[in-house]
């Protein structure tokens, strides 16, 4: 595998995030829902870095993604929790490059981020508390989990291997 300098890799990751967040290409959508890009990009970084560095990366990533959304609901709390969890997991497990393993971690991470956003929306908008069955949330959550689970094994495992080489 070609050795890519770490700084270039981080730069490439940010470029990818920028591109996919803004353009949200149709060929990478399920039912109009895009993959959870913060999870896909944070997962390999957290697995190969210390909890502190991962937490800082999660905070910055969350701030960046939040700047493209319209309400006060934030990605930061869920990404912070995930970064710490993945970082500790990465320190104690060696065979994490497995294709399926990465996919499962991305799926559970996306579900956690989705539930966090859903909960924040319910807390923020009282009108959503009138009816606890939100079909749109379930729809978005399931679609996002599926598409992230499909994309993550390819992109995240490649990034993880690249980080490992560094």
């Amino acid at each position: 595998m070609i050795r890519i300098p770490k700084n270039s890799l981080i730069f490439l990751t940010i470029l990818c995030l920028l591109f996919f967040t803004i353009t949200s290409p149709d060929w990478l959508k399920i039912n109009g829902i895009t993959p959870c890009w913060p999870v896909i990009l944070l997962l390999p970084f957290s697995l190969k870095n210390s909890p502190w560095r991962s937490a800082i990366a999660a905070f910055l990533l969350g701030m960046f993604v939040d700047s493209f959304t319209i309400s006060d609901v934030s990605y930061i709390p869920s990404l912070l929790a995930l970064s710490l969890l993945w970082s500790y997991y990465g320190l104690h497990n060696k065979k994490i490059e497995l294709f399926l393993n990465i996919g499962l971690m991305a799926i559970s991470g996306t579900a956690f981020v989705g539930i966090s956003i859903w909960a924040q929306k319910i807390i923020q908008y009282s009108v959503l508390r009138n009816n606890w069955f939100h079909s749109w949330s379930i729809y978005v959550l399931i679609s996002e989990v599926i598409i992230t689970g499909l994309v993550a094994p390819f992109l995240s495992s490649w990034l993880l291997l690249a980080y490992k080489k560094n």
């Binding site: 803004i22 949200s24 039912n31 895009t34 859903w118 009108v127 959503l128 749109w136 949330s137 978005v140």
Partner: protein
């Protein structure tokens, strides 16, 4: 010399013109009874090849459209004059900014559009964005070259709306789907399925009388107040160009 009269019997009926006359009379009665339906139908069939074609129909439709446009213009002028007289918020339909949708997130956790017109073109936060079919959202934030539009469908997004037929106000609340909820302010909404939902003519925040959608479902017994589910007439998922309405003030 007296001629002997022929024998009268059934054979006479068969031989004479009796049947011809009988059928003729029955036919006449039939025509009278159906009020000449058969004749008219036959006439229309015969006339069909020489009837004026679709061109004439188009001319008539074009004429009707011109007439409607003139009436619409007169009514709009009348409306503007009356709104001025009542000191209501003015809305100039000529001051519109057309913008293209450059990024779309109409089904995600956040339901928003990014458009390619911003502060440099005079777009301000809170301005109304319409698409083919009616109102689609409000400008949430602007940059010098772009603007972010919060769609009506975004969960928690609330605007004032009303039903013209019943003249009852409500708060249209986004529920994440293409069918936002109209929560009425009155105990009895009097709304019916098929009622048109528009912005209030007395609104101070939104331009008046903009089409929002059609009532699909009404729950009169809901507590604390009745609500209706509204099907939006403009679909943000299929819109590539939008118009931003500028206020006069």
């Amino acid at each position: 010399m007296i001629k002997a009269r022929g024998k009268i019997g059934f054979h006479t009926l068969l031989k004479s013109r009796f049947w011809v006359i009988f059928i003729f009379v029955v036919l006449l009665f039939g025509i009278r009874w159906t009020k000449g339906a058969g004749f008219i139908d036959l006439y229309s069939i015969l006339l069909k090849p020489i009837l004026p074609g679709s061109a004439q129909k188009e001319w008539i439709q074009e004429g009707e459209n011109i007439e409607r446009n003139i009436r619409l213009k007169l009514l709009e002028d009348d409306n503007t004059r009356l709104r001025k007289a009542l000191s209501l918020k003015e809305f100039n339909s000529n001051q519109r900014i057309s913008a293209a949708v450059i990024s779309r997130s109409s089904r995600n956790w956040w339901q928003q559009l990014e458009i390619n017109k911003g502060e440099k073109d005079g777009v301000l936060k809170g301005q109304t964005v319409i698409g083919p079919g009616g109102l689609i959202g409000l400008v949430d934030s602007t940059t010098p070259l772009t603007s972010r539009v919060r769609l009506l469908t975004d969960p928690g997004h609330q605007i004032g709306a009303w039903i013209d037929r019943t003249q009852r106000h409500g708060i249209l609340t986004g529920m994440g789907t293409n069918r936002p909820k109209l929560i009425f302010l009155n105990k009895n909404s009097l709304a019916e399925i098929g009622d048109a939902v528009t912005t209030s003519p007395a609104s101070t925040l939104l331009p008046p009388n903009l089409t929002i959608g059609i009532v699909q479902f009404v729950n009169e017994k809901a507590l604390p107040s009745p609500y209706a589910i509204v099907q939006l007439t403009a679909s943000p998922e299929a819109i590539d160009w939008v118009q931003i309405l500028k206020n006069n003030d």
